[in-house]
Amino acid sequence: MEHLDARHGLLQAVRDVSFAVPEGEILALVGANGAGKTTLLRTIAGAHRQTAGRVLFDGSDVSAVRANRRVGLGIALVPEGRRLFGGMTVEENLLVAGASGRAGRWTVDRVLEVFPMLRPRLKLSSGKLSGGEQQATAIGRALMTNPRVLLLDEVSLGLAPIVVDRVYDSLQAVIAAGATIVLVEQDLGRALRIATRVVCMLEGRVVLEGTAAGVTREQVTQAYFGLRRAGESGSSPT
């Protein structure tokens, strides 16, 4: 059994957060704007330096490992706002990641199977894509590095609901292949539907943690706005 365990003690944005993500889990990270979700994901990916605490991957400490090396270990982040290489084609965006990441089963063809809407866009500059196509490219780019854990930051940001549905439908194919995912999602209903477990953050701390089936929408909403300290046995010591 392989384990991903992440601990943080970040100044300001993320405060003394500890939780573990077992392999195969879909963990939804919810919380209001500024709760520290994006910073947390970026710290796990190595794009942001922690001020205290450790990030453990597979039992070993990767806190000092640079972001590009963590990709090689199997941690991939789909950043907020997609951040595609706009001057490059969709195919090139995928190939850059494929050439630099972990060896594995993901190829351009496999990404196109998951996101068929990208097929006619392959040779197009990624700056010219629609929002949904850009998001698909960003996820595909992360998949090309053959991650063992995929970090998704605000996949639905700036997209029409119907487009978000399509992106999430495609994600089901990734999940079915046995992916481990940590996702940040503003849409609570969607987060609870897709995830196996939910972590709610407030002002940089974990205020609620539980299985998606075990927490009610009301509990999450209360934790979300900090109305009441709700929590299960696994909640963080604050």
């Binding site: 972001a67 590009n68 990709v71 951040r83 850059v96 050439a99």
Partner: protein, 299 residues
């Protein structure tokens, strides 16, 4: 007469494009304006000259020997100087490369003295032979070779950026180094490789400088100015734009020298300033928009 001047200007533009190639490449990838560019070209010229004289070999063979040395120097330059400079903001690389230029110029003066050198005697016929075309036009062997090498080098670089794995990593890092890291690209290595490539092109440019003219330890700044003007005219960071910029500069200088004996440099600088001014006006008088316009065509 005019046709001849324009043709000679185009060929001269090939030389300017060649000398500007490395400067353009480094700006396109790292947003560094390398003020030591001209001095490094002169340093490469001295290295090629030394190797050619020492072993009595052709400068082209000597260049082949110098290329890996310059590549290693580029790698070191990035890792020891530019990487640290880049971390401290946009102005620091300008200052550190300016300082490097002064150090290099004076070290070369210390080592080689004030004598002017040239590789022209080492290349025999190539230095002065030419083809005669109808209408009294002559095309020098060396001028044409310079132009062909410039086009081949710029084209080769463009292909390299477009088709190879390292090329794609360089373009991704040039666009967004943080995100490139997130897909597994080691931006420090990419930058070091890009600087190594840039300095190899500078070595080629330096060799042609030494073959077509004379050089001395302080010849770098003139080369830097022409290279910089070619880049600004052509759109900073764009490789093909650099070729166009070099040609525009070369043609302007040659036509200027037809108008007045002193017109050569003045015409070149005037075209440079006119195009800079035009971009400034088009960009709506906002200096930040101007910088953006300069960067717009980045490779």
């Amino acid at each position: 007469m005019w046709v001849d001047q324009i043709l000679q200007g185009v060929l001269l533009g090939g030389y300017y494009a060649l000398i500007a190639c490395g400067l353009s490449f480094m700006f396109g990838v790292m947003r560094i304006i390398n003020l030591a560019h001209g001095s490094i070209a002169v340093l490469a010229a001295y290295l090629v000259w030394m190797v050619a004289e020492q072993w009595k070999i052709s400068p082209f063979l000597a260049l082949v020997a110098v290329l890996p040395v310059m590549a290693a120097a580029g790698w070191l330059l990035q890792r020891t100087v530019l990487e640290r400079s880049l971390r401290s903001g946009a102005l620091t690389p300008l200052l550190s490369t300016f300082g490097l230029a002064i150090v290099l110029d004076n070290l070369m003066f210390e080592r080689f003295g004030a004598d002017t050198r040239s590789l022209a005697p080492n290349i025999g016929d190539l230095a002065f032979n030419s083809w005669s075309l109808p209408g009294g036009i002559t095309v020098g062997y060396l001028a044409l070779l310079t132009f062909v090498v410039a086009v081949a080098l710029l084209g080769g670089l463009a292909l390299f950026l477009d088709r190879t794995k390292l090329g794609r990593s360089i373009r991704a890092t040039a666009e967004d180094a943080d995100t490139a890291e997130l897909v597994g690209v080691d931006s420090r290595r990419v930058y070091a490789a890009a600087t190594a490539i840039a300095l190899m092109t500078v070595a080629i440019a330096g060799t042609f400088l030494a073959m077509r003219a004379t050089f001395d330890p302080y010849a770098g700044s003139t080369q830097l100015i022409f290279a910089f003007e070619a880049i600004v005219i052509g759109g900073a960071g764009s490789l093909w734009g650099t070729l166009v910029g070099g040609i525009v500069l070369g043609v302007a200088q040659n036509l200027g020298s037809q108008i007045s004996p002193q017109g050569f440099l003045i015409a070149g600088h005037t075209v440079f300033l006119a195009i800079l001014g035009a971009r400034f006006l088009l960009a709506g008088r906002d200096p930040r928009a101007l910088v953006h316009a300069l960067r717009r065509k980045s490779a």
